[in-house]
């Protein structure tokens, strides 16, 4: 018998978007309450795909996805970045984590402009071509709750040359078996067309070892955003207690536009 798969989407709305999740009225602040995405998941999932979109230009969000009853939510996906340039933007996260059937899923968000709407859909993926050992936990590194963004990475003034490593975490809290990262535009909506290559490395400053080399991304001047702003999961094996850093190179030396934010998500 071959592998079987069943996929179901929860959180659809009457329109062509997901469930609206409104950020706290105060900028860069998470509300205490969560918005329900689904009261009870119709099937078990061994992986989930989370779609987060917004039609608001020039805004950054950090969203928490939680499971559990109202007022007893447990956050399973902390600080998912959604960074919007001009127009509609969507960030898609694929996490190989298990969620039992019958689970309530909810979300809350903070944003650079208070009271802003993001829309959330979740695809439940039952039984995929995944490692037999199930992953269950997501740890976020590099999120900056003060501005609803991430850690800024500067490639330096020399184009097409890798810049300095920037520490994302001095010591990873948990092991990492799958790694994702998201890129933010820092609420800069007058960007330049530009190409980047990104390295993710581990190890002490001065002795970094490249773990994930030359991930290619581009930023677009029309949409002021990155194509494929969320990358991964990349299946890795990073022990807890590891320093993780990022560096990048860019095709343009504009002192502002060459920068981007990065947030890492470790799954174990």
């Amino acid at each position: 018998m071959g592998d079987t798969q069943r996929l179901q989407t929860v959180g659809t709305s009457g329109g062509s978007r997901g469930t609206v999740v409104t950020s706290d009225a105060v900028a860069n602040t998470k509300p205490a309450t969560f918005t329900q995405i689904v009261a009870s998941t119709p099937q078990a999932a061994q992986a989930i795909c989370i779609y987060i979109m917004s039609g608001t230009s020039g805004i950054d969000f950090l969203l928490d996805i939680a499971v559990g009853a109202s007022s007893a939510e447990q956050i399973i996906c902390p600080d998912l970045l959604l960074s919007c340039g001009n127009g509609d933007h969507i960030f898609t996260y694929y996490f190989p984590i298990a969620i039992p059937a019958g689970t309530r899923i909810s979300a809350r968000s903070q944003s650079t402009t208070g009271g802003s709407n993001a829309f959330v859909l979740v695809v439940l993926i039952e039984q995929t071509f995944l490692p037999s050992s199930q992953l269950a936990r997501i740890t976020t590194y590099g999120a900056n709750v003060a501005d609803s963004g991430g850690t800024s990475i500067d490639p330096g003034a020399t184009i097409n040359t890798k810049g300095a490593w920037v520490e994302i975490t001095a010591s990873s809290v948990n092991p990492i078996k799958a790694l994702l990262f998201a890129l933010g535009v820092q609420v800069n909506i007058t960007r330049t067309n530009m190409e980047h290559r990104i390295d993710i490395g581990i190890g002490a400053a001065g002795s970094e070892q490249v773990l994930l080399p030359d991930v290619q991304v581009v930023q677009n001047a029309s949409s002021d955003s990155f194509g494929q702003a969320v990358q991964g999961p990349f299946f890795v094996s990073i022990p807890a207690g590891t320093r993780i850093a990022v560096r990048q190179q860019a095709s343009n030396a504009d002192a502002t536009d060459r920068l981007f934010d990065v947030v890492l998500y470790g799954v174990d």
Binding site: A164, W165, N188, I189, T190, A204, S207, R243, A245
Partner: protein, 113 residues
């Protein structure tokens, strides 16, 4: 833990920034302790081996371009011959029309995409 910047001793090129530093320091690198994590408003200057203020981004006003760029001489000719009050009304309408496209990155083309 303090923040540290490592740079190439000979060139001043910034190599790494962080709180966990190799010990011993690899040959050819110099470490300097920072007061805190560098802010976005700062950038590394290799000649001075220090963080300096990042230059402000310069944006170009498309409306101003329309009135000064020689490529739009025909428009400027018409503009010069309408009363001041009508100019103000027209300018306000163009500001509304251009919206977020009024200001462009200096590297972008003047034309709207």
């Amino acid at each position: 833990m303090p923040w540290t910047a490592l740079y190439d001793t000979d060139t001043g090129r910034l190599v790494s920034v962080g709180q966990v530093v190799s010990d011993p320091l690899p040959a050819g690198l110099t470490a300097v302790t920072l007061p805190d994590r560098p802010q976005d408003s700062e950038m590394w200057d290799a000649p001075s081996r220090a963080f300096v203020a990042r230059p402000a981004k310069v944006l170009v006003d498309r409306l101003a371009e329309l009135l000064t760029d020689p490529r739009y001489a025909d428009f400027q000719d018409v503009w010069a011959n309408i009363p001041a009050a009508r100019r103000t009304a027209l300018r306000n309408a163009m500001i509304r029309l251009l919206g977020r496209h009024r200001f462009r990155n200096a590297a972008e083309d003047t034309g709207l995409d």
